[in-house]
């Protein structure tokens, strides 16, 4: 047993981090927000060329030939920088929708009564009858609402749906890690009462709590990528949703008034975390799934 990342996995993570920080750093993020939610097709193709979508396709089919554990690491990085677009849906469609693997085609999917990126996508999986646009809470995730008849039972969690939930959870972990870092670095700089606020225990303890949530969720997500156990995946999504949303809120608190501004990135993390928490196995069903395993 060795739960640490292998040399190759660390290299993969480092490579993806460099790529994303270079190609989707803070300026690009803010430009994307200002553009009002347009999807950057060039970036999408670059992601495709880097193997983001074809990561798990066999090498014979032009893929990278890696597995779910590696995909989880890559999606953690995407979550860190708030990379926009229907990443999970396109990644999941890489083997079945032509063009998805290369990043030439943008694929989205109906999920939990919502369709992200409906107008920007080339291919939509699922029934969009009656879809109406919403004013999405997240400036970087356009949403449509589709009616879900109350009488229809919740969909079963097939393998693909579970994997999609796990990749979404990985994005949440990335975001939770990022908001922890952001809160800590702000706490080490901002001074009040003649000292940095990170010296106040009330602030320190918020930050410590953020790290604990992140580590718990990260361990859960990575383990679930190895076991692919449905109950473990549901638990991982649950804890990752909690980590991303609660950490973003604590990060906001550490930033004081600055945290409430449009200019700070904190709200972007919180809003995306809310959207991801509402998609792909939301808390109520995840809790039921884990409870059913007891």
């Amino acid at each position: 047993m060795d739960f640490r990342l292998t040399e190759d996995q660390r290299a993969l993570r480092g490579g993806v981090r460099d790529l994303l920080e270079g190609r989707f750093g803070r300026e690009a993020l803010r430009a994307a927000v200002d553009s009002g939610g347009a999807l950057d097709r060039d970036l999408w193709r670059e992601l495709g060329a880097a193997g983001f979508f074809a990561l798990r396709l066999p090498e014979e089919e032009g893929g990278v030939g890696l597995g779910l554990p590696e995909a989880v690491l890559v999606f953690e990085e995407a979550g860190r920088v708030l990379l926009p677009g229907p990443l999970v849906a396109t990644h999941m469609a890489a083997g079945s929708v032509p063009g998805a693997a290369e990043g030439a085609v943008v694929v989205t999917a109906v999920d939990e009564g919502l369709v992200p990126w409906l107008e920007q996508a080339d291919v939509v999986l699922g029934d969009t009858t009656g879809a109406v646009p919403m004013r999405s809470v997240d400036p970087l995730t356009p949403l449509h609402r589709v009616p879900v008849p109350v009488s229809v039972p919740a969909p079963g969690e097939g393998e693909a749906r579970l994997q999609a939930a796990l990749l979404t959870a990985a994005e949440q972990v990335g975001s939770a890690g990022r908001t922890t870092e952001t809160a800590v670095s702000y706490a080490r700089e901002r001074e009040q009462f003649g000292q940095v606020i990170g010296g106040f225990q009330a602030v320190k303890h918020l930050c410590a709590g953020m790290l604990v949530r992140t580590e718990l969720a990260r361990a859960a997500v990575r383990a679930a990528s190895l076991t692919v156990d449905p109950v473990e995946i549901a638990g991982a999504k649950l804890l990752a949703d909690e980590a991303a949303t609660a950490n973003a809120r604590d990060c906001l608190q550490v930033h004081g008034g600055m945290g409430f501004t449009w200019e700070a990135d904190v709200h972007l993390h919180l809003k995306r975390a809310w959207v991801r928490a509402g998609l792909r196995l939301p808390a109520a069903r995840a809790e039921e799934a884990v409870a059913a395993g007891l």
């Binding site: 739960f3 320190k204 930050c207 969720a217 638990g235 109520a284």
Partner: protein, 378 residues
């Protein structure tokens, strides 16, 4: 990332399982939790069996992964916990193994492994709890002995212990409080020691006050250099915060399963709020188990003692375990007020988890300062 065990580790697991299946039915009945001498005898008897079967030193010498397997399998099989041997096996023993001389190791370690000697930990004092370095119990050198005077408190198992790992102040003038502290092995039958049991809120006497009045402790009982006891102690404390609670996570997962069965039986399972609460707890314990595996992997690779990662674990574990008993109370309803139920006593015991071995506030300080690099404060 790999969660699978090697063939060798699986073999270790299989042999252990086989042995447990054979050994457990022969155990005497569990002693009354209020009867400490009986508990000591029971815990030491179990340790003796482990010793004779070759598992005694699993806490020290086995690889971290084997140790994990050992704790997992013994707990799954419902084997006894270390109990009165906690300090000997998990605090004092590892400290002596790491810092003691060859003679000291030969003198103190085998009786711990055989289940002959029970140790207790005399660190906390009335005036020195979280701020352990402020301890004042005084030791003055007199020829070949230290003469020790002062008071210790919250000393678990003091009533039945043979030895005490004792922290004393040997140099009150030292420029820093952390210097000037020395680690001594004190025989509990030395003249001048008075043990006064303290009753816990659960009604039992888990710990005691220990009064020391000019107790003579031979200089040869000192582990490490004079005035270097703080560093020696830190070796022990990182053991305490590392993998010491592994078996308890396994236990929690079993308890949660029992709770779900009880809830299905008494109908509370139909309450979606309660059911979902149990689901969330289950996800948390599963993730805690994965954190344990991550910590063990780290320890195995670096060969070091588990560090601040143990604090991350302990913070969430102690909280989740308390929450488990709150959920249990919701499942049991009126029965949760009955001291005759194990759940009720365990709920009371669990209240100490956020205090003992470093309070949650202190753990958050450690995480914030040592992992996140935030400024140190008092």
């Amino acid at each position: 990332m790999d969660l699978s065990c090697t063939d060798e580790e699986e073999e270790f697991r299989a042999r252990l399982r086989e042995w447990l299946t054979a050994a457990l039915p022969g155990l005497p009945p569990r002693p009354d939790p209020m009867d400490w001498p009986a508990r000591r005898a029971y815990d030491c008897g179990w340790q003796r069996r482990l010793h004779d079967a070759g598992y005694a030193d699993v806490h020290w010498d086995a690889s971290p992964t084997q140790r994990l397997i050992f704790l997992e399998e013994t707990e799954l099989a419902g084997a006894p916990y270390v109990g009165a041997n906690f300090v000997g096996l998990l605090h004092a023993g590892p400290t002596i193994a790491a810092e003691g001389t060859a003679e000291q190791r030969a003198r103190w370690l085998p009786p711990v492994l055989r289940g002959d000697d029970v140790w207790c930990q005399g660190f906390s004092e009335p005036g020195a709890g979280s701020d352990l370095a402020s301890l004042r119990t005084r030791a003055v050198r007199d020829g070949d002995a230290y003469v020790v005077t002062g008071q210790k408190i919250w000393t678990s198992h003091a009533e039945v212990a043979d030895w005490c790992e004792l922290l004393v102040r040997t140099d009150p003038e030292a420029p820093s409080r952390h210097r000037g502290i020395t680690w001594l092995a004190m025989p509990m039958d030395a003249p001048g020691i008075t043990v006064r049991p303290l009753r816990t809120l659960a009604g039992s006497t888990e710990f005691a006050e220990v009064f020391l009045d000019e107790v003579r402790v031979p200089v040869e009982n000192r582990v490490g250099e004079e005035n270097d006891g703080w560093r020696v102690t830190m070796v022990t404390l990182s053991f305490e915060r590392g993998t010491a609670f592994v078996g308890e996570v396994v236990a929690c997962r079993r308890l949660l399963g029992e709770l779900a069965r009880a809830a299905r039986k008494n109908g509370t399972w139909d309450d979606a709020v309660l059911r979902r609460r149990l689901g969330r707890l289950s996800a948390e314990f599963q993730a805690l188990w994965r954190i344990v595996q991550a910590n063990v992997s780290e320890a195995q690779a670096t060969g070091g003692v588990p560090g601040a990662g143990g604090s991350v674990f302990k913070l969430h574990y102690s909280h989740a375990r308390q929450e488990l008993y709150e959920a249990a109370a919701a499942v049991l309803g009126p029965d949760s007020l009955d001291l005759g139920r194990d759940w009720t006593l365990d709920r009371l015991s669990s209240l100490s988890y956020t205090i003992a071995a470093g309070t949650s506030q202190i753990q958050r300080n450690i995480v914030a300062e040592r992992i996140l690099g935030l400024p140190k404060g008092r």
